[in-house]
Symmetry: C2
Subunit: 374 residues, 2 copies
């Protein structure tokens, strides 16, 4: 890979890393905020795949109203996880604990289907093992490697789809379809793991966004939004994430209606069928412990874009991985580098969440409206 030397130091934070914000007048007008400030921009796709060395694949089943999404690095990627919701469904998260052996993952799988969705990684693991991809303690003929595929699922069992799968849930098959579909471009909205998702009384979905700092670090986010909380203010179409919007990527409606009376959650707060699943990616070389801190900071993006968040009924999980296309600065400045990347990650994840709801289309026959139908 092309490894460029990166300056991630304090100077970049306090001086050159800070660029002018959106002007007051354009923000107040709530539209035409213009391009991102000089020196900082979204990647060319405004997708997590703007991070070099990363592909994404979706599969969905319209009859079941569910789907699977895989984030697939070209090479094993250092990763971390932060589980913060009260109702998580996951596998292979323990492997990511700092004290454990394996440092890198072969993919991150997000799925609908609640516990049934955990089988999606079975399909991916078998597909990879057959291609000799995965972590190998011993490389020898006849010994398959162990693909490391941390996986998290959201609850879409009650969305009206046909769940009469008996003993044959579709998730293993969907996992294989997703990995075979992986590429640099992928759909947003009603797609992949977000296909059957709802969010705060509106149609949820799959979102993504990216940002590149002017010193060349790329941060991307992908998210499946099935939240208890709402992405928009009560009685408004404005997104909680509006302060961080770029280039009208979710409608450019501004911030002047961002207000919520106490215990007023708009259409949200219908518990028991929730979870927001996210993955942050960057091309900066980081340790798993550093990626854990970035995942923690990114959870604030989830909290800003959704109200409420991290409730007992949410299974909110944020993964973070590095494709390590870039080397990073030395030890003395690493905490500053992590601070910058974590703050970027929070902003990018908030934008990705709004894009998920903005891009979603209602399912035929469902009584849950899409944002665009409001």
């Amino acid at each position: 890979m092309n490894r460029r030397k990166l300056l991630g130091g304090l100077a970049a934070v306090t001086a050159s890393g800070i660029v002018p914000g959106v002007s007051r007048s354009s923000a107040a007008a709530g539209q035409d905020a213009g391009p991102a400030p000089t020196g900082m921009r979204a990647g060319s796709r405004n997708l997590i795949t703007d991070v070099a060395g990363l592909k994404v694949g979706h599969a969905s089943d319209p009859a079941v109203r569910t789907g699977v999404t895989i984030i697939l690095p070209d090479a094993p990627a250092v990763a971390a996880v932060d589980v913060r919701g009260g109702g998580p469904a996951s596998r292979e998260t323990d492997v990511l604990l700092p004290e454990n052996l394996v440092q890198e993952v072969d993919g991150i799988v997000l799925s609908g289907g609640s516990v049934y969705g955990l089988a999606s990684a079975d399909g991916v693991a078998a597909w990879m093992g057959a291609r000799n991809r995965g972590f190998a303690l011993r490389e020898a003929p006849g010994i398959p490697p162990s693909p490391i595929l941390p996986t998290a699922c959201l609850y879409d069992l009650a969305n009206g789809g046909d769940k009469a799968w008996g003993e044959e849930p579709p998730y293993r098959k969907l996992g294989v379809e997703a990995v075979e579909a992986a590429g640099p471009e992928f759909a947003l909205g009603t797609a992949g793991a977000g296909y059957g998702a709802n969010s705060g009384g509106l149609k949820g979905g799959l979102g993504s966004a990216s940002a590149m700092s002017r010193d060349g670090m790329t941060v991307g986010a992908l998210v499946a939004v099935n939240s208890l909380g709402s992405a928009v203010a009560p009685d408004s179409r404005q997104f909680w994430a509006a302060p961080w919007e770029w280039n009208d990527e979710f409608g450019g409606l501004g911030t002047d209606e961002l207000a919520a009376g106490p215990e007023n959650y708009g259409r949200a707060m219908r518990p028991r069928a929730n979870t927001t699943l996210a993955c942050i990616a960057t091309d900066v070389a980081l340790s798993r412990v550093e990626l854990k801190r970035i995942a923690i900071m990114a959870q604030d993006g989830l909290g800003r874009a959704l109200r409420p968040a991290h409730a007992p009924f949410d299974g909110d999980i944020v993964f973070a991985l590095s494709t390590a296309d870039q080397e990073s600065a030395g030890d003395t400045l690493r905490a500053v580098l992590v601070t910058r990347l974590g703050a970027m990650a929070a902003d990018v994840l908030a934008r990705a969440i709004a894009r998920a709801v903005y891009e979603a289309t209602a399912l035929a026959g469902s009584d849950v409206p899409a944002w665009r139908d409001l």
Copy 2:
């Protein structure tokens, strides 16, 4: 205590617990949003001490530019903690882990002084022990009880105060002064644990706020804001917490300027001297595990009111305690009750953070401006 029966059920969330929000027009005008919506109001003081059975005491040392704050329940209170920042300074947080013996605390101590501030609880513990207050495994003459005083400190060592204390830091003495000063009223802004605090390039301070649901649950927050992140949007005096403001409690400036360009943190992001310390209180009877979830949800209030938050340089900690003045609903609805209280806690903490910065006054001789000087 007066124990009232409380309905905390699902019906209260989906119907009666939801009240109308602030109207668009008043929110857009950014002022005169009027009283809180019908049926929901701040407590009479708009302080954490609106929670029945709770006092707060401050002590400060202007020459050293530091101080101590104690949250003092009238009777031992069930409590939990969520440590989320990357640079915490704390004691007696392990005692609050779910699997450990003691369920109740005698007080929560917040202090300046970084590691030296941990001595503040020594003073409080000795004061309480001499009065036979504290957890006693065996009650007998000559055996002092063990006061349970979880404590967290913020970094104000570099704020220009006189730290030439040699081997006699002032925190033990300040702890005693704080507990002796405890009462229902207390100062905001440059006071107590927030006396020497800075926040995102502005003077930080001590904040508090409260809310009461229309079914009679009270939630309060107290916070000492010494954050890496900024409480206001870049190039604006508007607070990130503005969407949740009540009754112009921090200026009523509205939300139309809430926008931030990428990597634009305004005056913030000067690392290495940070931490936001908070305590949530409620009069609803809860287990320690339930209070832990409420502390987790409250961290989103911290993330919403400050940008960025939870960085490696922050020692962000949220305590949560119950004075149990009210009984709560039965087991089947408890997760809904926790969701409501956690969402309220996030809003109240966001408001308390903005009030801390809004009320703060600059220290004489300091080059760090207060918000009111902007």
